[in-house]
Amino acid sequence: MSTQSATFPATAPASAGILLPAFTLWWREVVRFYRQRARVVGVILSPLLFWIVLGSGFGTSFRSGPGAGQQHYLDYFYPGTLVMIVLFTAIFTMMSVIEDRNEGFLLSVMVAPVPRAAIVLGKVLGGTTLATIQGLIFLVFSPLVGIHMTLASFALIALTVFLVSFALTALGFAIAWPMDSTAAFHAIINLFLIPLWLLSGALFPLSKASGWIRWIMYANPLTYGVEALRTLMYPEAPSSFSFAFSLTASILTLVLFALFMFGLAFALANRRTTKPSA
């Protein structure tokens, strides 16, 4: 057997820093996902079916309100479906945070000299990359609903998808990090995340919704993501909002949402408690 020198080198290198561990966690996240065929297909397939079925089913049933008025439901529902794909991918990342930490690579990360910031950065950017890619793949279907993108509008759509991905992944991280098991997480998905999506203008427009729901929808940051996508994809259709709210304003709202979520995730990851796997 090969033998090392009798003594080890003095110590490990001074510090791993933040960038190298973050990079390695990001890279690992992406590679792992794409080696699980079932997952890759699954996060697109469910929303895709949902879109086809609901879109065709509702067809031209609804012709009220600005924006939705002139559209077939397939068209109307398209941006929301893209966000659904992003959400599903973000949920997958959240699950892996919990599972990985009880029994997985994250255990090794927690006992390595890696700053918590690197873990948050690597995981969130990794999940964001996946959600963005999966979301953008859905654009393959855009010609079917009469969307014609210019280079500029595509760039902006990509930016919006990125921001929504980032915000949702960071939100997911913030929720998942303090959790011990995936059981409680399913409750959160059903009681919080799905409603978040339901009330974002993905399924129905704000303008004709009943008063109280409309207020919730305005308060929901995801609404601005859906609206931004809708504006970029269907520039001729009027805004869903009953007041003027420019694309820029929507995107800025998304940026704030994303930053806030990341800050929350970062703060949570830095706590050290006396509970296990702090």
Binding site: S2, T7, F8, A16, R32, V111, P113, A278
Partner: protein
């Protein structure tokens, strides 16, 4: 059998004072409803194979988590390589390698990729990292499988990758949590041989948690835990020598009465455990004919054995390693409280 210091470590050491590489002082940890560690203190020396032996619920897993900096204790201190686990975890982590009982490899990644990511966590990169990965894979005998996904490995091979991950950055201290779980006897032997090589050639301090006596006997020194307390500390030889004799187990129809009669007749301590009468007697082989002659027909079967670590455990705690209930204390007949 290697030569290991046989003196108990209480009192001055035979070696010149090498500062301990791990120092645990009055470590207490409470979960919401119970106390897992009740003030544990011990040292681990450099280049030592140190065992943490205890049944489930003894606190060894909690202790492991605190030492590997996964958890902050309720009170007390733990220091590794001079760094405090609570206040300087970042610096401490550079000096330890950890092999968990739970799986911490990515099954979907290859052996090489797992180690590549692991290296990055310690600031290793580029050609230096490549070299180390090749070295460590060669040492655990998996160099030819570097490009295969870990999910294709057998259980023993996956354990070896875990070991490789823990050692990649050449830590001074290696912490292993029940490392032989799920391994066949051949793989267990190989692992222990490797740990001993690490100790001897690389001067690594290896800390192993275990609930298996035969593994604990292979350690240089041992800490035996029971219900959050440290009940024994020292080399296996010194601990078993404390028993001061052989262990005799007698099976009888009425163990309690037999125990009383033996006590009365021979003035020795006799306890009843698991429906057997248990005696610790020097030169047990001489005592046997005496007791059989004195109490003919009472004894259904009899066994004489050299003391084992379990006997040390019984001696110190008053009950068996795996029992749910505590037996009565020796000679006074006082019962310890039953666990619910």
């Amino acid at each position: 059998m290697t030569t290991r210091p046989t003196a108990l470590d209480l009192g001055p050491s035979a070696q010149p004072a090498a500062p301990p590489v791990i120092s645990v002082r009055d470590l207490v940890h409470r979960y919401q409803d119970r106390t897992a560690l009740n003030g544990v203190s011990f040292d681990v020396r450099p280049a030592e194979l140190f065992g943490l032996l205890g049944p489930n619920g003894s606190g060894k897993t909690t202790l492991f988590r605190i030492l590997s900096t996964l958890m902050v204790p309720t009170s007390g201190s733990a220091t590794i390589a001079g760094f405090d686990a609570v206040h300087q975890p970042g610096a401490l982590r550079r000096h330890i390698g950890v092999v968990f009982q739970a799986q911490s490899v990515d099954l979907k990644l290859t052996a090489y990729e797992n180690l590549w990511h692991q290296g990055h966590l310690y600031g290793l990169r580029g050609s230096e990292l490549k070299k180390r990965i090749a070295e460590i894979l060669a040492r655990v005998g998996l160099l030819d499988r570097r490009a295969d996904r870990v999910e294709t490995f057998s259980g023993g091979m996956q354990r070896r990758i875990e070991l490789a991950k823990g050692l990649l950055h050449h830590p001074e201290v290696l912490l292993l949590d029940e490392p032989t779980t799920g391994l066949d006897p051949g793989a267990r032997r190989d692992l222990w041989q490797y740990l001993q090589i690490l100790r001897d050639q690389e001067r690594v301090s290896v800390i192993v948690t275990t609930h298996l006596m035969e593994e604990a006997e292979r350690c240089d020194r041992l800490a035996i835990l029971n219900e959050g307390n440290l009940v024994a500390l020292g080399t296996p030889e010194a601990l078993t020598r404390e028993i001061g004799g052989d262990v005799i187990l007698l099976e009888a129809r009425d163990p309690q009465s037999l125990a009383d009669r033996i006590r009365a007749k021979f003035q020795v301590e006799a306890t009843v455990m698991d429906n057997h009468v248990r005696l610790e007697i020097e030169h047990g082989h001489r005592f046997v004919p005496d007791v059989v002659e004195a109490l003919p027909g009472e004894i259904q079967s009899l066994s004489v054995s050299k003391p084992t670590l379990e006997d040390v455990f019984i001696h110190r705690t008053g009950h068996r390693f795996w029992s749910e209930d505590a037996g009565p204390m020796p000679e006074t007949g006082k019962k310890k409280a039953k666990k619910n």
